[in-house]
């Protein structure tokens, strides 16, 4: 059953249409990641959900009740801000206790709850310090503690790992799901990092230019993105793509691109004709051995990226492709000799040449 429901939500500032008719359903207890590049309207959407901003049109429903007009304090929603938004004149303890105090909870209970969450997030030793005395990681944990302490039914997390350094980000990426599981709340999480989104999410919504491109399981979005835009956003290095004319026979697809015929081992239902072919760098085989469907390429350069090696190679028709492989595999590649590429079976994607939608 859907717990939160967005029905054609729109919001604009003057002529700037930031959010344009969003629809989504979020389930109870789900870890829902809203992913998008900067400027796509993620933060505005989160502010609409929290009640800081009001939508121009559309409805936000929670448990089937419209909450459009409710003030932030009237919604059973808590939020951790990207910039932490800690109260500078209160100690970490009071910061975390703030949501409890709003609810007339006894002092003893406040104390035990604050200590419990501080313990869980490993900040119990800094409770007596002011925000300006905390490290960035501690600030981030304090702000997280504040958003969770009252066990809200919905937690909004606005890219909470953005402003902390890589080590803390890595730790938190492992720790956060565990902590949140314990609280059994619905989490709406904003991220600009597709890897973070894939690591954390039950489902991901891809927000682009104020619209949801995809709402699906992480695996599905990665493997079957609805459009080239989404495919480009997911993946580092970005997906290779090129225009080609498709013709099919039996188990093969032949993509003709600038005079070069690329043979793709793939069954597909798409029509013959022009389209955009997308293939992720890790789905390209690069080797010194020639096979039946492989193509000659010229080596251009290589660079390490995220523990893998990325090669840039050029086809004889001028098309450049990125291929990535593990360091182990890369050791076997002899750059000085002739190189060949072939596309892994069933891996490439076809997009409409004009609308950029996935054709399958």
């Amino acid at each position: 059953m859907s717990y939160i429901k967005l029905e054609s939500i729109s919001k604009s500032f003057k002529d700037d249409k930031v959010i344009q008719g969003l629809n989504a359903e979020i389930n109870k207890g789900e870890f829902f990641v809203i992913f998008g590049p900067s400027g796509s309207g993620k933060t505005v959407l989160l502010r609409l959900l929290s009640g800081i901003l009001l939508p121009d049109s559309g409805e936000i429903k929670m448990e089937n009740a419209v909450i459009n007009d409710l003030h932030p304090e009237e919604r059973d929603v808590s939020m951790a801000f990207q910039n932490f938004a800690l109260y500078p004149h209160m100690k970490a303890y009071e910061n975390i206790a703030s949501p409890l105090k709003a609810n007339n909870i006894s002092q003893d209970e406040i104390d035990s709850k604050v200590k419990e969450i501080a313990n869980l997030l490993k900040i119990d030793h800094v409770l007596n310090q002011y925000p300006k005395e905390l490290s960035n990681g501690q600030k981030q944990r304090t702000s997280l503690a504040r958003s969770l302490v009252n066990r809200p039914s919905v937690v909004l997390l606005d890219d909470p790992l953005r402003n902390v350094d890589a080590k803390i980000r890595f730790e938190m990426r492992l720790e956060l799901p565990k902590v949140l599981k314990e609280f059994n709340t619905t989490v709406i999480y904003i991220s600009q990092d597709y890897r973070e989104a894939m690591a954390l999410a039950d489902r991901i919504a891809v927000l682009y230019d104020g619209k949801f491109n995809d709402i699906d399981l992480p695996k599905n979005i990665y493997e079957k993105p609805s459009s080239l835009t989404t495919a480009k956003l997911f993946g580092d290095p970005t997906i290779n793509n090129f225009n080609a004319v498709i013709s099919k026979n039996e188990n093969r697809v032949i993509a003709e691109c600038n005079g070069e015929k690329i043979i793709l081992q793939r069954k597909t239902s798409i029509e013959n004709g022009e389209c955009i072919v997308g293939i992720r760098p890790e789905d390209i085989n690069l080797s010194n051995q020639q096979t039946e469907e492989s193509l000659k390429v010229e080596f251009r350069t290589k660079t390490p990226l995220n523990l893998r090696i990325v090669f840039l190679v050029k086809l004889s028709n001028g098309l450049e492709l990125l291929c990535s492989m593990s360091e182990e595999e890369a050791k076997n590649i002899k750059e000085k000799e002739q190189l060949y590429v072939s596309f892994k079976e069933d891996k490439c994607l076809f997009f409409d040449a004009i609308t950029k939608r996935n054709l399958e």
């Binding site: 800081i52 304090e73 939020m79 938004a85 109260y87 709003a102 504040r146």
Partner: protein
Amino acid sequence: MKFNIWSILKIFAYAAIILFFLFPIAWILNMSFMTNDEILRKVPVLFYEPTLKNYIGIWEGEISIPGFATMYIYFKQNLINSAILSSFSVALTLVLGVPAAYAFARYKFKGGEDIAFTLLSFRFAPALLIIIPLNLYFTQIGLYDSYIALIWVYQLITLPLLLWIVRGYFEDISPDIEYAYRLDGHSWFQSFWKISIPLAKPGIAAASLLCFIYAWNNFVFALILGSSAIQPVTVGALAFITASAIPYGLIACGIVVSVLPTLILALFIQKYLVQGLSLGAIKG
């Protein structure tokens, strides 16, 4: 050689500035400890026995001069009036101005800037243009010669001052901090009271003190809208100096007592003065 001339000129300039701007204050302070005889000497005395008689006279309101009858002066009442008028004006300004300053800082609303500038423009309207009709109105509705009327009119000076300083301080607070507090489950008023105001406190405090100084220093409103019973020191001192036979030491003492509060407050807020004096047009 050129260097020396510049240095000498510089020393001369410093001396001239100190003499012109600070000597009168020092001298009036000096006079307040003198007896009338010592003041009236043709050649000023530099060494004398300082006396507190003038201060005691001001406080007790009764002064006996040899050869004259005992005189009664009411300057103490002026001091009390000044304190009442200034304090209550600042209090009212805080109540009216802080929420308005918050609104101007936080919300972009239709006509907001117009309202803000209207409030600012009061500071530059000729005072008498407004007070003369007001004087007639107040007489009709029985508000003439009342603290309430004066405190109301004082808002013309204090309100713009506070608005434009405090607005800047509210603008410096991240709205997210307030939103975070509201998402914790607190109402707007609670977040205003527990977050916005404490964080803007240095600005509010400085603005209040500057408002106090300006209210205390006002002259024309009280001159026209009140009788001697409610008049502050600025008007009282003038009456004091024009009255005959009051010893000069006592006059000097009255002036010292009148300017001392504002001078002391000024030293507390000197860091914030630029912003206050330019109504926020220049950030110090």
